[in-house]
């Protein structure tokens, strides 16, 4: 029985995923069946996976049960659905074991009562918040060059869920997807308010809406009325003076409004039709809107264009870093094959430092689609290095996505702390960045202020620490900004015996050492101290620009 390779694990996972979704093709099922029969690892993996599926079912039902707590009396029609079987048992027990009645009839009665409870549950309003708090109505799913208005109280980032509230965009494009299915592309400057999962208000500026049939009835309130969609694609532009243009690209919409003199106005617009509503509320048919509206496809294209442009900027920067004589070690994690076990050192100036040896880690997706990253999740995941440099001053830079802070440390770069000057760099349990150096008598830990709280977990962050022997200062940077400084207690020459990325040596905090829990997609060590402008430039050019991906499933 051979151990599974990473590739086989991925294939197995995809098969099991399809299996629980009832869409595993017959030939794959046959393969899985044979695999389970003859490979113990596969069998155990299968059992653990199916057990997890059962547990998820259990926890999902528990959640409904928790929702019931304190509200049982008020909502007698809602029932914990996993008691369905209990009720059947009850019926059988009462009637089959202890009574002489026909238990089947009561079984059916209980069963039906349970079913009707479930049906009643399904008729509850969609998207209600189980916690009883404010409801999510939409999600910010895409943006290009977005600049929020300075006065905006709420400035969401990509992937954030939106409750009812105002979005004020000074410039750029944002795509908002409502939970009921409608999508609007907002084009700055614009003020748009999300109201319900199927309703918004346009106070100022332009939008284009695409409304699938499931979201028919999607409405947008305007200064002098509202547009009700009947399954279509339309553009709206509310001008500063209060006038509005409405253009229908596909399907049909109804405009309902009122003039200042109190007359009601209703217009039904079909494909290719356009109206202009003046500041007093009167609607006039017009040939064409005065300006085009950005569609979701345009946005996707612009987003792709911007991605491409920024990727090129990052490639240019990384080439410059590679060629810089200060660069001792530089891993871009790009252009590696998925099975590669060698991590290429891109530093052109320092041939002394060799490539890294990847142990255990899996390749995944980095800050943007197509960007490579290594994920460190398992106990022994690490990259082994030979880093023979002796540095008086140094800069350490990394793009990391930290998934957990439950361990004592999340090691980024560690070395064996036996010789004076041996250096390690990590995030500790409280979220502080720590540079540790071995002094003449003991290890010295230079800790930043708390940089990582739960809001930074599972997001890409840029961390830099500089060791400035000349000034006797250590500086920590997070996302391009100087974050905190500490005075050096003892100046040593930094060195890196038995260096590893993503894993601590056994002696440091734990008998077996600890693995970084998360992903790394860029890492560099530099001779000397980079200044704040250089560090900020590294962040601004390298910052993620696509939808944040909490786990890298793709391959470089």
């Amino acid at each position: 029985m051979s151990k599974l390779t990473d590739q086989e694990f991925l294939e197995l996972h995809d098969m099991l995923d399809a299996l629980v979704e009832n869409n595993l093709p017959k030939d794959k099922l046959d393969k899985l069946e044979k695999w389970i029969a003859c490979n113990g690892d596969v069998r155990m993996h299968y059992i653990e996976f199916m057990d997890m599926s059962a547990s998820l079912h259990h926890y999902a039902e528990e959640l409904i049960g928790d929702d019931l707590d304190g509200a049982i009396e008020e909502k007698p029609n809602r029932i914990i659905s996993f008691t369905k079987s209990f009720l059947a048992i009850a019926a059988v027990l009462v009637l089959g074991l202890f009574f002489t009645k026909d238990f089947r009839s009561l079984f059916d009665e209980f069963h039906l009562s349970s079913t009707s409870d479930i049906q009643a549950e399904e008729t509850l309003p969609p998207f209600s918040d189980p916690a009883g708090g404010r409801d999510t109505v939409a999600v910010l799913t895409k943006s290009v060059g977005i600049v929020w208005d300075q006065s905006a109280d709420f400035q969401p980032i990509l992937g954030d869920t939106l409750e009812a509230g105002l979005l004020q965009i000074e410039s750029g494009l944002a795509q908002v997807e409502f939970l009921q299915g409608a999508t609007v592309v907002l084009e700055g400057p614009v003020e748009f308010s999300t109201e319900t999962p199927n309703e918004g208000s346009l106070l100022k500026g332009k939008l284009r809406a695409v409304v699938p049939k499931v979201a028919t009835g999607f409405a947008i309130n305007l200064p002098k009325g509202r547009v009700i969609d009947l399954g279509t694609d339309f553009g709206l532009n509310v001008h500063a003076g209060g006038s509005t243009e409405l253009f229908v690209y596909e399907g049909k919409v109804i405009y309902e409004g009122q003039t200042d003199s109190g007359d009601s106005i209703t217009r039904e617009l079909r494909r290719g039709e356009s109206i202009f509503i003046d500041p007093y509320g009167y609607a006039n048919w017009v040939e064409m809107p005065s300006e085009p509206f950005i569609s979701a496809a345009d946005l996707a294209f612009r987003s792709m264009e911007e991605s491409h442009r920024r990727h090129e900027a990052w490639v240019e920067l990384s080439n410059a870093i590679s060629a810089d004589p200060k660069t001792i070690l530089y891993f871009t994690f790009d252009n590696h094959s998925p099975w590669s076990r060698i991590l290429k050192n891109e530093s052109l100036a320092n041939s002394m430092v060799q490539n890294g040896a990847i142990v255990g880690c899996k390749w995944g997706e980095g800050r943007w689609p197509g960007k490579g990253a290594l994920s460190f999740n398992r106990q022994n995941d690490r990259v082994r290095l030979k880093l023979p440099s002796q540095l008086k001053s140094a800069t350490f830079s990394a793009w990391i996505k930290l998934d957990s802070l439950k361990q004592d440390i999340a090691p980024i770069l560690c070395s064996e702390p036996k010789s004076i000057g041996s250096t390690s760099w990590s995030i500790n349990r409280t979220g502080q960045i720590v540079l540790s150096t071995r002094g003449a008598r003991e290890n010295i830990h230079y800790k930043s202020a708390v940089a990582f709280r739960s809001d930074k977990l599972s997001r890409w962050s840029h961390v830099v620490t500089t060791y400035n022997a000349k000034l006797g200062i250590i500086s920590h940077y997070v996302n391009g900004r100087s974050f905190s400084r500490e005075k050096l207690n003892e100046i040593v020459v930094l060195n890196f015996p038995k260096a590893m990325i993503g894993h601590s040596p056994a002696q440091l905090v734990d008998k077996k050492g600890l693995a970084f829990k998360g992903s790394i997609d860029e890492f560099g060590v530099f001779d000397g101290v980079l200044d704040e402008l250089e560090i900020r430039s590294m962040y601004e050019i390298g910052m993620p620009f696509e939808f944040p991906n909490s786990i890298g499933t793709g391959l470089p």
């Binding site: 996972h13 999902a60 074991l97 999600v139 106990q379």
Partner: protein, 196 residues
């Protein structure tokens, strides 16, 4: 959680009409309810491992539950209820093979046997994984957690999960694949860390 269990027990007791029973009968019924409360999740998980389709597994659990009730007088207090119940469930799965013969997710008898044996030997490990999963669910972001739990609610499907998380159906399939992978790796890591 305690309160919810009390609620379930109270509700069950009412449905069982304990008040109308003799004392000995009440004790035995009460014992059965206690045991089922304790082991139903594990019995369902056992069946689900043999029958990957969740709705099919739920049907078999239902049938097994009826038999467990009917045969409960044969069960000796103090012996292993879970093993006893799993034997009943196993025979229900075997009996149901005809019913599921056209289903695309039923394994042959030999594979069923080997899965069943392996699973029984790994119960303790699986219990630990169940506990770790709870912690890993807490680590997911709100959107992913809401989505995956919606998917696993009774009667809910991927479409419901897509709506709950504001994703397209295709996006929801991809996201669920990713989330399951994340959770699986997280659980494995949690256990490895505990062991270390």
């Amino acid at each position: 959680m305690l309160r919810k269990q009390e609620f379930q027990k109270e509700r069950l007791s009412k449905q069982l009409n304990f008040e109308g029973m003799k004392e000995g009968e009440q004790d035995r019924s009460s014992e059965l309810v206690q045991l089922m409360m304790k082991y139903q999740r594990r019995i369902f998980a056992y069946i689900h491992t043999l029958v990957p389709s969740r709705s099919d597994a739920e049907d078999i659990l239902q049938e097994a539950s009826v038999t467990i009730c009917e045969k409960f007088s044969d069960f000796q207090t103090g012996t292993n209820f879970y093993s006893w119940a799993c034997q009943i469930a196993y025979w229900k799965v075997r009996a149901a093979r005809k019913k599921f013969a056209t289903s695309k997710v039923v394994f042959n008898q030999e594979v069923l046997d080997v899965i069943s044996q392996t699973r029984i030997q790994a119960e303790e490990e699986l219990d630990n994984r169940h506990g770790a999963l709870s912690r890993c669910l807490q680590k997911l972001n709100d959107r992913d957690r809401r989505m995956v739990l919606t998917r696993y609610e009774s009667g809910k499907n991927v479409t419901a999960a897509a709506q709950a998380s504001g994703r397209t159906i295709q996006g929801a399939y991809k996201a669920l694949n990713r989330i399951r992978k994340t959770l699986f790796d997280c659980v494995s890591f949690e256990l490895a860390t505990e062991k270390a």
